[in-house]
């Protein structure tokens, strides 16, 4: 189980990172190509799609490493039981919202598939293909919130709200 989880978050990070690198290379190639008087068709559009893939694919990894921003003023002042209750409330809300997001981003991609929608760009790319990272990434995010919820149930504290000093030192 532990290994599966590790690979899950690792693939979220790798997919996201790869999209970022490919996006950068594409934009650089576009600059170079134009310099020599050629164009890469639809490169702006592909860069935009790679951007959405970068962001959505990486959401789960980002959640797992506790990098999504939240206000921890209350949490850091609460103790044991109360803190657990508040965290349960937060994670339940998190599951509901990310679940809703996962369902409807997937539905949007599915709808693009059944309508055979294509992009309005130079190359007519089937929209569902470029929307898959959004759907998958949102599902990954929902899974990672559920994972945190289960951790909390098991009594292992959800990735502790780190003290400021700790974070600062990890930063350097």
């Amino acid at each position: 189980m532990h290994t599966i989880k590790r690979y899950f978050y690792l693939s979220s990070a790798i997919l996201s990172g790869s999209c970022l690198v490919i996006m950068t290379l594409l934009i650089l190639a576009q600059i170079a190509a134009r310099f020599f008087g050629v164009i890469i068709p639809s490169s702006e559009d592909f860069a935009g799609w790679l951007l959405s893939a970068t962001i959505f694919f990486g959401l789960a990894y980002t959640f797992h490493t506790d990098s999504h921003i939240r206000v921890t003023i209350l949490l850091s002042r609460l103790r044991n039981r109360t803190k657990q209750i508040v965290e349960f409330f937060n994670l339940t809300a998190g599951i509901l919202i990310t679940g809703y997001l996962a369902y409807y981003t997937s539905y949007t991609a599915y709808e693009s598939y059944i309508y055979e929608d294509v992009s309005d760009t130079y190359l007519a790319v089937p929209l569902w293909i470029v929307q898959i990272p959004m759907a998958l990434g949102s599902v990954f995010l929902a899974i990672s919130v559920v994972d945190s919820f289960i951790q909390a149930l098991k009594g292992e504290a959800h990735e502790e709200v780190k003290s400021q000093e700790e974070l600062l030192s990890s930063m350097e």
Binding site: R34, G37, I39, P41, Y115, V118, S119, D120, T121, Y122
Partner: protein, 306 residues
């Protein structure tokens, strides 16, 4: 806001300054005044509610009941929408009206397949050539970088012997100033709205084509309204279409004058340039006909018969 009546939120792609949004606003005002509180249309201009690429889909799936798009933008969905951007097919407003008349049944058919209904269209002024030097023939443009924003404009740039550069409207000023592009084909209104005299010197009135916006509603949402309200909408749409075409004609002249007044060199195209461009137009019409098949051929024949 009356809670009893229906409320239609209508996303439009362009800002409040463009005549297209003004036409949409007068369309909404007429409905709001005459529908007796049974329907209120709320304009959300400039892509503030739904962005341009998503408007068509949003109306289709009833996220919003009504919306406006630039017809050519849908070209990948159906070739009939591409016809709106074919250069040197209909270059003055009389021919553009004829082309609209000839293609309207096909547009309606294409929309109906997606449960949509056409309410009205409204043209932009004809597309002219902006450059930073005098252009007497295509050889003057050879090798330069031309702004493109759609498959059709990219193909046109190719055929003109230039390199198409995909630049969104918002980057145009910067791109011209830094020579990332040296030419573009767009309406005089776009030039006036973006104060193009700050960075472009020449304006050649080639009148390449007259593109249109269209406003359409979701048929199922429309059918839910009572007959009276439906009639109010249809009448308002007819009036908006009339107003849109009048404004398009008027602005073509006014905005070209405004460009000249602000110091741009406005010139009529040379015979040679027009000849070369019309040859390109003929190629693109052939290409379109090949793509659109029988129904496309029928539309072109209907147009030529008018």
């Amino acid at each position: 806001v009356t809670s009893a009546g229906a409320r239609w939120d209508m996303p439009t792609p362009y800002g409040d300054g463009t005549h297209q949004t003004q036409v949409a606003r007068s369309f909404a005002e007429e409905i709001n005044a005459k529908a007796d509180g049974k329907l209120t249309v709320n304009i959300h201009s400039g892509g503030s509610l739904i962005k341009h690429p998503e408007i068509h889909r949003a109306v289709k799936t009833r996220q919003v009941p009504i919306g406006e798009v630039f017809i050519g933008r849908l070209g990948n969905l159906n070739p009939i929408y591409k016809l709106d951007n074919i250069p040197f097919l209909a270059t003055d407003f009389d021919s553009a009206e004829k082309l609209y008349k000839a293609s309207k049944p096909e547009i309606q058919k294409a929309l109906a397949k997606e449960n949509l209904m056409l309410l009205y269209t409204s043209p932009w002024p004809a597309q002219d050539l902006y450059t930073n030097k005098e252009v007497n023939s295509l050889s003057d443009l050879r090798g330069s970088k031309m702004r493109s924003y759609s498959p059709t404009t990219s193909r046109l740039a190719d055929l003109m012997g230039t390199t198409p550069v995909n630049i969104p409207f918002s980057d145009v000023a910067q791109a011209f100033t830094t020579n990332a592009v040296d030419a573009m084909i767009t309406s005089p209104s776009t030039g006036v709205n973006g104060q193009s005299w700050d960075y472009i010197s020449h304006f050649t009135t080639v009148h390449a084509w007259i593109p249109k916006n269209m406003v359409f509603a979701n048929k199922r949402v429309f059918d839910r309204l009572d007959k009276e309200t439906q009639q109010v909408i249809l009448t308002a749409a007819a009036n908006a279409e009339k107003k849109g075409w009048e404004m398009g004609r008027k602005l073509a002249v006014e905005h070209t004058d405004a460009l000249a007044k602000n110091g741009m060199k406005v010139v009529e195209p040379s015979k040679q340039l027009i000849g070369e461009l019309e040859a390109i137009g003929a190629t693109m019409i052939d290409e379109w006909e090949a793509e659109a098949g029988e129904s496309g051929k029928a539309v072109l024949e209907a147009y030529q018969a008018l």
